[in-house]
Subunit: 318 residues, 2 copies
């Protein structure tokens, strides 16, 4: 089969990859559409060691698997858990000690004709949900993880720092809580998406006082972190939603004096994400920059790295 | 009156300081005993700008104030709050936007014959509680703040990093929760104090696995932070109890991947601290290295800076 292979920070479109045989408990999924995420760009830059097929945001059709999923369109949770470690047994499979992660850790990903995932990771897609839109299930779930970790209410002043792919989804999901929300970014044209949905936006220098109860860092750069930190009131909460290249330097004493909480946030709930996409309560269509066939995957990657480009999709099959 | 004055990182024992006149709502307190804290040492090193009388851990006798406190021994909460800002109005006076802090921010401290504090900050000391012991009320309260912020139960594995003054108090207060506690430090002689109270201790390299639910950083140095971080299971909580000189460099991506919570922790509840000291549920006597008259305050400071020295007290009056 065909697949986009990463090795030594080089992407290569290979056509000699064998179609995988799903082990017991796993399904074989023919990939329809997949999205390029910042994590993919970071893997290519060599921030984490990974060799194999990239890609973890996808929609596919089950070709081998249990009856109730066969020939259905599905999305899939990316952490494949062992089921018997202390984290699995305590209901936290995304933190399984022995996990593999689709296209990220020891498991071939979605930028290929086929992938395998545990059957329990797969969620059928409602018939009315277009494939392009459903491709956003994984990042929307990740955005929803914030609300699993931090209580966000109508009285809370919440700041989202970053107007990229992740910031856009985080902002839309937080807006549904009715909180007092501000999104700051660097790109007026990206902020317009959010304003069209009634979300208040501003440029980064719009944050002038330590008034926010919660801030969410979605830029992955130290400047974004500094804005998110500066915006918080004492005893406020800073959610780290982005990974960072290298170490982050911070004023730990000010965290102590102001009793700030910092919380890292990763993968979230798929069922809720699918429901939000299916009901149209969040709108990801404006975030799609373009869709390219797998044959053009290397070009698509280049596009995705350009400043100002939001989501780039790969069309793998029909 | 006499007082230990800090200016331009120089300590000076002055005898020409006027006895303060308490403004409305404040009391005049004659200081009996005061403790030298790491924050005092850091102020002297110039980590924060401060000019004036140092000291914020004290026991004194009210000389001017309301009837119910007059001539009684008291301890005092160190944050003098305005009473009308949004933090005061929301019941968080320790984060008052306009606060002064005894011997730390814009308010003369306790290493002097007299000090002033708001009446509402003062707590009478039970008659059976010796003055030396009551001097520990402020740091014991700070240790108890952890339990105000983080739920600590009998099923939790908790690591305290640091066997100094703060680590000793944090360990003793956490031990009262019945949690599964380990304290690591560098000084076998200091760890012995804790072992004598039935608390499990080890040297820093005793932490080998990511198994702790909660870790508390009490060293204020990056090595201590690294141990506290490394010890945590995914979704664990790291309590920052110490301030740091300069910035701290950390792997923010790993906080995201492991969904770690970092929480800064400062001043805590005085009534609970007084009660623990009065009932003997925590024992601070072994932590007292020595007690010096105010005339020897500069020598006492030198003592307090020596490696391995725990609490140094100043005897100001009888």
């Amino acid at each position: 089969m065909k697949g986009l292979w990463l090795e030594n920070q080089q992407l290569k479109l290979r056509t000699d990859i064998p179609v995988p045989h799903p082990p017991p408990g796993e399904a074989l999924v023919r990939v329809l559409r997949a999205g390029i995420c910042n994590t993919d760009l970071e893997l290519k830059r060599g921030y984490y060691p990974y060799i194999g097929i990239l890609g973890h945001e996808f929609v596919g059709v089950v070709e081998q698997g249990p009856e109730h999923l066969l020939h259905r369109r599905v999305v899939g949770e990316i952490n494949a858990a062992c089921g018997h470690c202390r984290f699995c047994l305590s209901g936290q499979p995304t933190h399984c000690e022995n996990r593999t992660v689709l296209g990220i850790v020891n498991r071939h990903g979605a930028f290929a004709d086929y992938l395998c995932l545990p059957v329990k990771n797969l969620h059928p897609i409602p018939d009315n949900l277009p494939t392009d839109i459903a491709t956003f299930t994984e990042p929307v779930a990740a955005a929803l993880e914030i609300q699993q970790q931090v209580s966000v209410g109508v009285d809370d002043r919440v700041l989202v720092v970053g107007d990229g792919k992740l910031g856009q989804l985080v902002a839309q999901t937080l807006a549904l809580t009715g909180c007092n929300l501000l999104v700051v970014g660097r790109h007026q044209d990206k902020l317009v998406n959010l304003e069209a949905r009634g979300i208040k936006t501003g440029l980064a220098d719009a944050v002038t006082d330590q008034a926010f109860d919660i801030s969410v860092e979605c830029t992955g750069n130290p400047e974004g972190f500094a804005i998110a930190r500066r915006a918080l009131r004492p005893r406020g909460t800073l959610v780290l939603k982005s990974t960072y290249a290298g170490n982050l330097s911070l004023d730990a004493s000010s965290l102590v004096v102001d009793e700030i909480t910092l919380i890292g946030s990763r993968c979230g709930p798929f069922p809720e994400a699918l429901q939000l996409l299916a009901t149209g309560n969040i709108d990801v269509q404006p975030l799609i920059h373009g869709c390219y066939p797998l044959d053009d995957a290397i070009f698509a990657f280049e596009q995705a790295q350009h400043r100002g480009v939001l989501k780039v999709l790969l069309e793998i099959s029909h």
